[in-house]
């Protein structure tokens, strides 16, 4: 992405703020709305920081994705290179950047040559990294302090680790040795969920993923109940205070009077018949506050502020005093959303007391969670893997100040004294922290609104002990309006808290607010300001994650382009015209693409764009889809996966059916039926094998034959036995490539890659495989229109943005078994009341109320984030923004009524409805791929007469390697056929090897020296055997055997003759040659030339065990026969090597002291 500021000659309106942001003497938190060039500012500050430090590693910039980190690094590097090249500045901002870069370069040039930074050659020294990356780096630097031990693989999807930990927990409870309290706790939770451990896997795994939020509550001294009381009390007080703030004193008095008066007609108000004073805040007064809401709110859903017109008997009799008092109060507060929300919040408050039964259940959960952490650690250790939370914990543990760390190690208490003697004592900063502290001078964090609690803790640790004027600086930049990663624990309240408190730990922060928008044209920025001012809430609210809107000032001047004037348009279709919406959106995108400029279609959810993609295809517009199409949903991929499953499991009847229907097999329904008559209970492979092919259609018969032939071939091919290989071979041979287009071929290739990665050992671990499959998306490819989810679009910008499906509601929130809710006062962990609890029991009702509160809060947080998602989507647009949605029309008013919890619902609060472009629906188009109504589904298939072309070798013929031995010299290649020792045991092989080595040594050093070294011989032999991995129990015998054989040899005159001095002699003599068109290599045990000029080749033959006397002759005869060809070959080789000599080949058997000479 280019620097958005670079296109602007004039200084923006917030130029002074931007200058202030470069002041390294101050720690800064900058609020930077979309398009304000925050990354550019961060890059500039990084350059400023680099200009002041000794090594580039002292400046660290952090962000959230590798891509963004690379962008920061490359941008800094780019400025440095331009400065080095003397490139002139394009504007004031650029000039500042280049000036900083010049200082960096000048200071570097002043260093000794060996100390220069060499950033161009080594850009990795520019420390722009992800937070996860930094944490991993710290943890790797400190394997013990971090508790990791080594460098585990950090897995992005750690779901399987969590699941395995949960499964290990449930397996453990079957162990009678497991602690009783653990078994009881597990029993309680299993019982609560119908003994279905499988139903607990997902919620428990989810808790493990979010363990940074709760694990501190497991400490023995953590009083969960007290904490919970405190949180609930704080929630009550906050809501009561907010409600109270809605009224002035007079209004409060009126409301009290109303309650007193109404107590005679409303039973629930009876206890407050004499309430004279506004109640004090506190959970104990929850009922009183609830009573105060009675006159204000309707009783049933939807709970809203009462309207004066709705005040009717019997509760509000016309002449009743409370009715008379209430009317003017309500009249003055018509449509007062703040009051309505405040009153409703009181109604929805949780009980102040958690029922004992729920506390018991949670205590059981505490026990389970503690154990689960242990299992997770064990699973991670076993796999050598961890997750980002684990890395964050490790980094935090490594950087923890020393006194804290001393408490950390609950594993080392019984460690050896020797290990503990140096483990350090006393208090203060840990070495690691000090070391890191010394290295780190300037820390910059981009996208600060996306930090989680644990990441904030890391920042606190990194800046611990920084003091004013010490030359170090912190720069945080983010935009709460773009906080859309709550599910990743990046809660917007954390950023808001920093802004509010103006400090990070002990570090004071200066708050700066940028306002210039360099991205969008003025008309677009004006629209944002007008719309989002109304769409966003008026105030920040930490509990519900609400963020108020900060307007921007357009810094860009309008481009003079009459054909595509900058504008925001909202298009609406009728409720049941989704196809028209898709068509309309596709046409808009196509028109923009045709006119030039970048175009993006943005959606909230992947499924929202399917119809639009089909319309784009129909218009002939190629779309580059970024992670929009799950690979598993693509027909070509589905068929490949079915093929894999079918080959893996003959009993997988569904996978086989999909395979048989796949286009590269292509059986019709009728043929499938014919295969199944009388054989429905058989597996498909059995049906195919047993089929009477003549009963099939002619085409079906041919198709089945092809398949069966190929299956037979693949089954016979043991060299390629891995499942992925078999799948790929079969797919290719069946004509798979002819069934896909070029884009799908890439997707299929990725699927094969996935199979190779996860299924080399089969698909037994289906969970792992399915998970990996689900994570893959079709390749983006190239296209004139980019299509992606809004989350993916964050950080990007386009000339034209088309939002589709804005009328579709966000997915309804599931009601999970557990809610782990973060509040500004701490976490609440609320289980769903188990089904087997009596429904009307007070504890069930109280538990349900608490659960509903937690669930409501969760929904509100998600809803607040939904607004920000809309903001992110809209602010990607530089020139035009088109928002498309379908909505119902209210019968009474004729007004559009979009689905609740949709973007459109939010949008209509912010725009003038009259400006909407309403379009009538068109008649639906026929989709050619749709099946005719009432007909069975059809599937494409390769024509039976299609002749697939062979490899085109015209340009470059394919080189088929020849057998090596005819081409180049090579090392021996073993096969079962020609390795005689293949099935003999290792003992025999090694005895032979060591005997040969001994004889070689004797022949080299002489027999005398061998005898002289007798005392150490046995130990040396034993060491040799052990070195060659002979099992320890066999070593002694093996040594004895070799010594025995050597002794026999040396005791023999023949043996001594063989090993003794000769005119010419070699041991373990290696020869190479080329004979009869083949390369040969030979290793001759012993060869020598006698005084008579005979050349002898002697091959030693040993047996691992002594051979019975009566068997020796047979053994020798057999060996002689076996080794004859080899010895004859050796003879010929030596004859060629030393021509003119007579060569004698022989086998020597120390066992019987026999030298068997081959006669030529």
């Amino acid at each position: 992405m280019s620097d958005p500021q670079s296109a602007f000659a004039a200084e923006p309106a917030d130029a002074e703020v931007r200058l202030a942001a470069l002041d390294l003497r101050r720690h800064i938190i900058a609020v930077a709305p979309a398009g304000s060039g925050k990354t550019g500012l961060l890059v500039q500050r990084m350059l400023a920081a680099l200009a002041t430090v000794d090594t580039p590693e002292q400046v660290v910039a952090m962000t959230f994705t590798n891509k963004a980190a690379a962008e920061i690094r490359n941008r800094v590097l780019g400025v440095l290179q331009r400065a080095a090249a003397g490139t002139p500045a394009s504007d004031a901002h650029d000039a500042r950047s280049l000036a900083f870069a010049q200082i960096v370069l000048q200071r570097d040039a002043a260093r000794e040559a060996s100390q220069r930074w060499s950033l161009t050659a080594n850009p990795g020294r520019l420390r722009a990294t992800t937070i996860d990356g930094l944490q991993a780096h710290i943890a790797a630097e400190l394997p013990l302090l971090s508790g990791l031990g080594g460098r585990p693989r950090v897995v992005e999807d750690a779901g399987l680790l969590y699941e395995d930990a949960v499964l290990a927990l449930f397996a453990e409870i079957e162990d009678t040795q497991a602690p009783q309290d653990l078994r009881e706790a597990a029993a309680a939770w299993l019982r609560a969920y119908g003994n279905r451990a499988d139903r607990l896997i997902a919620p428990f795994a989810d808790l493990l993923a979010r363990r940074e939020q709760w694990q501190h509550t497991l400490a023995a001294d953590f009083d969960w109940q007290a904490h919970e009381r405190q949180v609930l009390e704080a929630i009550h007080v906050a809501a009561q205070e907010h409600f109270s703030d809605q009224f002035n004193a007079s209004e409060q008095a009126t409301l009290l009077a109303i309650v007193r008066a109404a107590s005679s007609v409303e039973a629930s108000l009876a206890p407050f018949a004499s309430m004279q004073h506004w109640p004090r805040t506190g959970a104990e007064n929850a009922a009183a506050f609830a009573a105060l809401t009675w006159p204000l709110l309707t009783k049933n859903d939807p709970i809203t502020l009462r309207k004066t017109s709705g005040l009717r008997a019997p509760s509000f009799a016309k002449g009743a005093e409370h009715t008379k008092l209430l009317r003017p109060l309500l009249a003055a507060r018509v449509d007062d959303e703040a009051l309505e929300n405040a009153a409703r919040a009181l109604r929805e408050l949780p009980p102040a007391q958690v029922p004992g039964e729920l506390i018991e259940l949670r205590e059981a959960l505490r026990i389970l969670l503690l154990r689960l952490l242990g299992h997770l650690r064990a699973v991670m250790g076993e796999r050598g893997e961890t997750d980002f939370v684990g890395i964050a914990e490790a980094a935090r543990a490594a950087l923890r100040p020393r006194e804290d760390r001393e408490y950390r190690n609950d594993f080392g208490s019984d460690a050896d004294d020797e290990f503990n003697e140096d483990s350090g004592s006393g208090f203060g900063y840990g070495d690691a922290l000090l070391r890191r502290d010394a290295q780190l001078r300037h820390l910059l964090v981009d996208e600060m609104q996306d930090t989680s609690e644990s990441q904030l803790a890391l920042l606190r640790n990194l800046t611990l002990g920084w003091s004013a004027g010490d030359g170090r600086s912190l720069f945080l930049v983010g935009d709460p309006q773009q906080s859309i990663y709550a599910f990743r624990k990046a809660e917007v309240r954390l950023f808001q808290q920093l802004l509010q408190e103006r400090r990070l730990g002990e570090l004071p922060l200066n708050v700066l607010r940028l306002s210039a928008n360099f991205r969008s044209e003025p008309a677009v920025v004006d629209w944002f300001n007008a719309a989002f001012e109304r769409i966003f809430p008026d105030f920040d609210d930490a509990l519900s994650g609400a963020v108020a809107y900060s307007p921007s000032i357009a810094a860009r001047t309008a481009a003079a382009d009459e054909t595509q004037p900058a504008a925001v348009r909202v298009h609406v279709w009728n409720k049941d015209c989704a196809a028209d919406e898709a068509r309309g959106a596709a046409r808009l995108a196509a028109a923009y693409a045709a006119a030039g400029g970048s175009v993006a279609i943005l959606v909230r959810a992947r499924s929202h764009v399917r119809a639009t993609l089909a319309e784009l295809r129909a218009l002939g517009v190629r779309a580059a889809c970024q992670d929009v199409d799950p690979l598993v949903e693509l027909p070509a991929v589905r068929d490949v996966l079915a093929l894999a499953r079918a080959l893996w499991h003959p009993e997988d009847r569904l996978a086989w059916a999909v395979l048989l229907r796949a286009p590269f097999v292509g059986l019709s329904w009728a043929d499938l039926l014919r295969l199944s008559i009388d054989r429905r209970r058989l597996t498909w492979p059995e049906r195919l094998m047993a089929a009477d092919l003549s009963a099939l259609s002619e085409e079906g018969c041919a198709r089945v034959k092809t398949l069966l032939d190929l299956l037979a071939a693949i089954n016979a091919d043991h060299a390629r036995a891995s499942l992925p290989e078999r799948v790929e071979i079969l797919w290719t041979a069946l004509g798979g490539p002819a069934c896909v287009d070029a884009t799908s071929l890439g997707d299929v290739r990725r699927t094969f890659g996935l199979l190779r990665e996860h299924a080399t050992q089969g698909l037994a671990d289906a969970r792992r495989f399915e998970r990996a499959v689900a994570e893959l998306y079709a390749a983006a490819g190239e296209g004139a229109v980019q299509v992606m989810t809004i989350h993916k679009a964050k950080g990007l910008e386009f000339d034209h943005v088309v939002m589709v499906g804005a009328g579709r509601a966000a997915r309804a929130e599931d009601r999970p078994l557990l809610h782990l809710t973060e509040t500004p006062h701490g976490p609440l962990l609320v289980p769903k009341p188990p089904r087997h609890w009596p429904q009307d029991a007070p504890h069930t009702l109280a538990a349900l109320q608490l659960y509903n509160f937690a669930h409501g809060l969760h929904a509100r947080v998600r809803s607040s984030e939904g607004l920000r998602l809309l903001y992110v989507a809209a602010t990607r647009a530089r020139r035009t923004l088109d928002i498309c949605f379908c909505a119902d029309i209210e019968e009474k008013t004729g007004a559009r009524k979009p689905k609740s919890n949709s973007f459109a619902e939010a949008l209509l609060k912010g725009i003038d409805r009259a400006t909407m472009i309403a379009t009538d629906g068109e008649s639906p188009s026929e989709d050619s791929t749709m099946n005719a109504a009432g007909s069975p589904p059809r599937a494409p298939r390769l024509p039976i007469d299609l002749v697939l072309p062979d490899e085109d070798e015209s340009a470059y013929p394919i080189y088929l390697p020849q057998l090596q031995r005819s081409l180049r010299p090579s090392e021996a290649v073993l096969s079962a056929a020609d390795d005689k020792r293949a099935d003999s045991d290792i003992y025999a092989q090694l005895v032979g090897t060591l005997f040969h080595q001994a004889l070689e040594k004797i022949s080299r050093d002489g027999i005398e020296r061998w005898h002289a070294g007798a005392s150490t011989r046995a130990s040396a032999l034993a060491a040799g055997f052990r070195r060659l991995s002979l099992p320890e129990p066999q070593v002694e015998n093996a040594v004895a055997r070799v010594l025995e054989l050597v002794d026999r040899t040396l005791a023999s005159a023949t043996g001594r003759w063989i090993l003794g001095p000769h005119v010419w002699a070699r041991s373990e003599y290696a020869l190479a040659g080329y004979r009869d068109g083949r390369w040969i290599s030979a290793l001759l045990d012993r060869c020598f030339e006698t005084g008579e000029g005979e050349l002898w080749i002697v091959d030693y033959k040993t047996s691992a065990q002594p051979i019975a006397v009566d068997a020796i002759e047979r053994y020798i005869a057999q060996s002689a026969e076996t080794y004859r060809p080899q010895l004859m070959l050796y003879s010929e080789l030596l004859k060629s090597q030393r021509p003119g000599k007579t060569v004698v080949a022989a086998l020597y058997f120390p066992e019987g002291d026999r030298l068997l000479r081959y006669e030529n």
Binding site: T65, A140, A657, R661, G666, A742
Partner: protein, 877 residues
Amino acid sequence: MSSTLILTASDRIARSLREDLNLAERAAGRDVWETPQVRSLRQWIAEIWADSWPGEQLLNSTQMQALWLAVVERDRRGVLSASACAREAREAERLAQEYAIAVDDAPAYSDEQRAWQSWRRRVAANMREHRWLSVEHLPAIVAQGLRNGTITPPLAVELFACELTTPAEHAVLDALSGVTQVIAHAGATTTPNSLRAWRCADDAAQLRLVAATIRQRLAAHADHASVPPRIVVAMPDADAKRALLEDALIEFVAPALRTPIAGGNPARAPWRWDAARKLSDSPWAAGLSALIAIDAIDNPPERAAQLLLGTWFAHVESHAAAAAIDRKLRESGALRISLSKIAELAPVLLQARLGALAQIVSDAPRRALPSAWSAHFSARCEAAGWPSVDAPTSSVFQTVQELRRALTMLAALDAQTGAIDIGRARMWLNELFKRRFEPRADHAQPVQLLDAEDAIGMSCDLLIVIDADTGAFPGAAQATPFLPIELQRAAGVPQASPLSWLAHRRRQLAALLSNARETIVIAPRHDARGGELLASPLFDVNWEEAPALSIASRAETLATTGPHARLPASDPVPPVQASEQITGSTRLFEQYAQAPFFAFCTVRLGIEPLPAIGLGLPAAVQGKLVHEALADFWRGVDTRSNLQTLGEDGRTARIREVLEPLLRKYLPVGDFGRMLVSLEAARLSDVLTAWLRLEAARTDDFLVLEHEHKFKSVLAGLPMSLRIDRIDRAVDEAADRLTLIDYKTGGYIDANGWREEHLNAPQLPLYAVLLDPQYGGEIADIAFGHVADGAPELLRWRAWSTQPRMRNAPASGGNFASQIQAWRAALEAMARGFLEGRADIDPAQALRLRNAPLLVLAGLLDADDETAATNDADLAG
């Protein structure tokens, strides 16, 4: 003896040089010659040391790992991975030895350094005590031996590409040069006369470019008239690149590898990975691992599946039989599977092997020396018939031999580990399976693929360096945390500082590029996540846009001209034939109501998804237990008044009585675990008690006539076989009225499925329509009995009372007799549709049938993802 020994930097260079020298001999016209003495420096040091027949034992890397692991574990620091810690600690020791860092007197500034020194002292003491050495110690010993004359040097030594040796190796060369003639060669051939640097879009484009280039270069030698050029492809991380590069190579260079060849004669790939695969990556290792992993009693279903479906049953028949066992196990829902149970389920074909295996596994000792474990594991292999290949190809044979060797190496760990339990034995075997192994091929492999560092010194005609971006060249280095950084810097450890690392990488690259006649360097522009990559400046060349490919692979050609598959005009389903012997059931109608296509697939084609491996108590078994328990309970109780007479205690006792045998039957403790079974017994007891309390409190008096009543009938020509959960007679009503009850044990019930226009719950209507009129009594009441946790409920629709909860009133207007007629008409229409071969599915309707597995057969999606991004992977950029 050849007078000159040639020493090289690595084994692969030695191999390559040997080959060149042999070719030169042949080119000189000789047909026999002494094999050139070429060794890697490291290999020679080990050989020359072993030649002296030392009494010390040289430990292999696994044995060293065992020593280090023992001391790290003894430290009990509770690190996440003691193995990884031991590996890194050992690596620090290697570094210290290679760079001659004087660690004995080294300061220790951090916990890591203090701990490491302590560990090292223990390891060293242990090694001294047992006279053990590691390979890192040898250079110092050999250098010393050469200096003091205890080691005899070769007559002359030539060094080949040994300029990047470690200080320890350098010391050996120094000592060598003091006692013999040493000639140093920088490398093989020439300065490259052609160096090109290309940029391409991404990794996929890069790999296709490499593959196409290789095909093009080899094409000239396709006729075998000349020796093909030696091509080296060097990359920063061969392991990471292997799968994708191999894919591209197969597609362009050796498409025959994707062709099935009967008889298993393998196609020949002209490339060789010098960075070998892990032994564990072989499919033969999978079978062996499954055998080693299996337990006598307590195996999770995945482990049993791995054993059954792993390649050790490599024969088709065995595979099918094993798959059938796996299916039975899945259907049972068992969570823990014993080997004896697997053997029991096995057909004759597999019974002997599985039985023998079960016996051996059950005889496993609790603790034993690794050599005993090695013998035990070998016995498992023998019993199971692993590897079960009749005529293995060379590569299979070599792989199996290497796996056997790993078993042998396990046996060599006795002295380092002492007696261990089976978990540890498995761990060490798995560690040994991580060893690298590439079977030797018997054909020419002119293309070598390897890590860039390993390619240094390899002479070749064409060198292709891929991934030449700054992330790899120079890349980043991290110094070991176990040694003080100052010491590392002083010793010249390249990783100790960015400057020394850069210098080191420059030297490496210079050496890499110096041995090729022609070099192509490629750098993609973007990584897999779209992040921009910078071309490495270390190559000092002008980067150009990569040339467009002049060829396409066959797959690409087909895909580009395709897809060739066409949608047929129609694909009719014939009407049901008598020979199909179809009998209808409630399930048929349930499925038909969802989509006729489902009923067709399930009933006529017998297509069902493979049951998923169970992770908890199967809901179906829980339901079955409730059904059968109630059936047993009512036998002998019969009426509401009897039920009331029984009283709460009596009912509880009777429930216990009926549950006991059922639990034994459906939830054997061995399959599900004692605790889970007892919990389920308690839950069932609660559920049944609550249900029977509700029954006892009913105001209408009833007589239970039947439980699990089976009967046959015919509906519109379709033979039916049905089973009603329960039939009651209302005894206090004037008329003889029957109540048909269907028990539901799931989470939620309603009566909407009884509406004839959407008969999604056709069971009770079917019973009401088809129950033999001779049975006696008027069917005037149908009911779901919701027997589940929470509030039990009898959701009924009686002729004499109000309608049950329904979204809309049924068309019959509530008249029961006419309702039965309406049901009959609807059911008959369904039966006729089925018999006529109706098998359609409404795509719009299908969207509501989320996760119905059969949708995949209709080419429809089975999920509607409303969440834009729900996990980190979605967002990682």
